[in-house]
Amino acid sequence: MRRIYDIHGGIHPPERKALSQPGQLRPAGMPAQLVLPLSQHIGKPAEVLVEVGERVLGGQPLAQADGLVSVPVHAPTSGTVIAIEARSVPHPSGLTNQCIVIDCDGQDAWLPLAPLVEWQQQSPDALVERVRAAGIAGMGGAGFPTAVKLLASDKHKIDTLIINGTECEPYITADDTLMQVAADKIIEGAEILAFIVGAEQILIGVEDNKPDALSAIQTAAAKSKRAVEVASFPTKYPSGGEKQLIEILTGQQVPSGRIPADLGLLCQNPGTAVAVRDAIIEGRPLTRRIVTLTGEALSAPGNFDVMLGTPIAHLLTLAGFQPEHNRRLIHGGPMMGFALDNAEIPIVKTSNCILVPTEQELPTPPPAQACIRCGLCAEACPASLLPQQLYWFARAKDQDALEAHNLFDCIECGACAWVCPSNIPLVQYYRAGKASIIDTRQEKARSDRLRERFEARQERIAREAEEREAKRAARKAAAEQKVAAGGSEDPVQAAIARAKARKQPTEPMADQSTDPAVAPVTDPATTPSKEPAE
């Protein structure tokens, strides 16, 4: 039996997980249209490969990865591309972003898949390439490209793969359901991931509020030929944070600014493991995921097997949406989710939950009051930070102090805001603080580059002026020498005569000479411009 450690802080909000009946996966059917954002992950948006009007088949790549930290997008079913335009996407800003819109034809015709049963024969690199081509981004919520995470472990020796089946946020039961209906696939996916990174041990962590998922995983793990250990630990929010789970399972803390790979650990979500398994063994790209639709404003909440790109409105109909009881839609859970402003927004790779609460269930937060320095937030913080200090520094925009107090170790779990008796939206302060620090860093890098460019240009202009001066001096010296060598003529008179002779036949070109301070000779810019006739 593995020793289970405790993490600092944490909270016990009402779980409300039974509402969505974990373990029962319902089909979501096929909507009339799918809206597929080009950016469903962290990193650069994918590059479009199709044109408007083109017929596409299921599994066909619609957009390819643009650079290393990017993932492709595939068609979840067959149909016609009817638009490539900016649409509302799940994002806290409520802004629009480029999406590919597919009109589904209902046939669900697929490209032939390329299965690979004997994956043990392949090199890890070839398998990572397959993961990348399948468009897999972390399905726990952040959406970091999985292939990049696997590559990052190249530089480190990974000894343990951790499958994070914690799902600690209230209401959400998508991973719980997946562990119950696809435990074997999770184990297979974990075996592949462990093979890719060379991990000897697979460790699966499940919170003890999911007994059915735990027993399903234990049964599946017992069948595996590899060393698979399943550990259960007490329910506490946010045990599912990567660094928190590592501490619970191993007692080790990931140092500030480092990644789990530095400790020889790699964490993956069960959804990601299944997506990797499907990509390798079946050759199937990531085009579906499990989404929890829950909240008391739904008459039939549950977990749905959803095509990516399905508009949320389609799912709300299936789950018995009662609009009269609801004022807001939340993407994600009650702790870390954000509100959506319309129901036409599609499900993306990172959408694990759509929460549709009634006003009594999740009331609009009351206005924030003054911080009374009670310190409850510091007791609740799972990263052992000082939330109230960070709050004051964020308000004062004191970036140095924020960094000194390790703002970047904040996992934005919302535990501090949950316990705050003054209802201060603490996490938003931290997000704004992080954003402004990152912005300052980027602006600094940019201004350094601009300074270099400016100075390089100044230097070039000075050098060219000097060269011109040197040439002129040389010409003058040569002319003087010529005169001294026996020219009887007065050089000044000769020059005037030459100038007169030159002036007569041609047009006067007064503007030929350019200001040497602005225009260097070798610059194409100085080619005399007669053109702009003003």
Partner: protein, 201 residues
């Protein structure tokens, strides 16, 4: 030697002091040559804070000249692209009171970049000559274009353009540049707790 010190204490003390003076003088002289700083380190630090737009709105031909002027005692509030933040940073560095931006030199706006409407460009190269950071590409009678990532948004190319085909567009727009804003300040404006407010009423 001890005998000399015993016999002539005054002279010995003077000699010792003289020797110390010579040694430390030599050390200082050596250090001043060895660890000599090129240029004006204060101007260097100030230049580091300035936004490097090179726009000349301060009245100097670029950020470095303005940095040197500030080091020489000029006002710190003449830089509209830097805005409040730059003034604050300069005030901290120089240990002076921050002043509001001098409106004579312009107002603070969101960062912009120049954009050439390419089908209207006649290829006169005047904007290329005006650009302080060589961020415009093109040749005579060929279309020009702005390298957006390198443009400082100084607007110096706008005036020389004979056909007015250069627009200034927002540098940070769209979803990838969106940032979480700080929560709106509370309406009451005062950080008082509920019981305080009851008493105040």
């Amino acid at each position: 030697m001890w005998a000399f010190i015993d016999n002539y204490p005054l002279l010995a003390a003077l000699l010792a002091l003289l020797a110390l003076g010579v040694i430390f003088g030599a050390l200082l002289g050596f250090a001043s040559v060895k660890f000599r700083t090129e240029g004006n380190p204060l101007a260097e630090q100030i230049n580091d804070i300035l936004p490097q737009t090179q726009c000349g709105q301060c009245g100097y031909p670029g950020c470095r000249p303005y940095a040197e002027a500030i080091a020489g005692g000029d006002a710190i509030n003449k830089c509209p692209p830097g805005g409040e933040e730059t003034i604050q940073a300069l005030a901290n560095l120089l240990d002076v009171e921050p002043e509001p931006l001098d409106a004579e030199h312009g107002v603070e706006k969101a960062p912009m970049v120049a954009y050439i409407r390419e089908d209207e460009c006649i290829g006169c190269t005047k904007c290329i000559q005006a650009c302080p950071v060589d961020a415009i590409l093109g040749a005579a009678k060929q279309m020009h274009t702005v390298i957006g990532s390198e443009c400082t948004g100084c607007e110096l190319c706008i005036e020389p353009c004979p056909v007015d085909c250069i627009d200034m567009v927002l540098r940070k727009s769209g979803i990838e540049h969106w940032q979480w804003p700080l929560p709106a300040p509370r309406q009451t404006g005062l950080d008082i707790i509920a019981s305080d407010r009851e008493q105040a009423a």
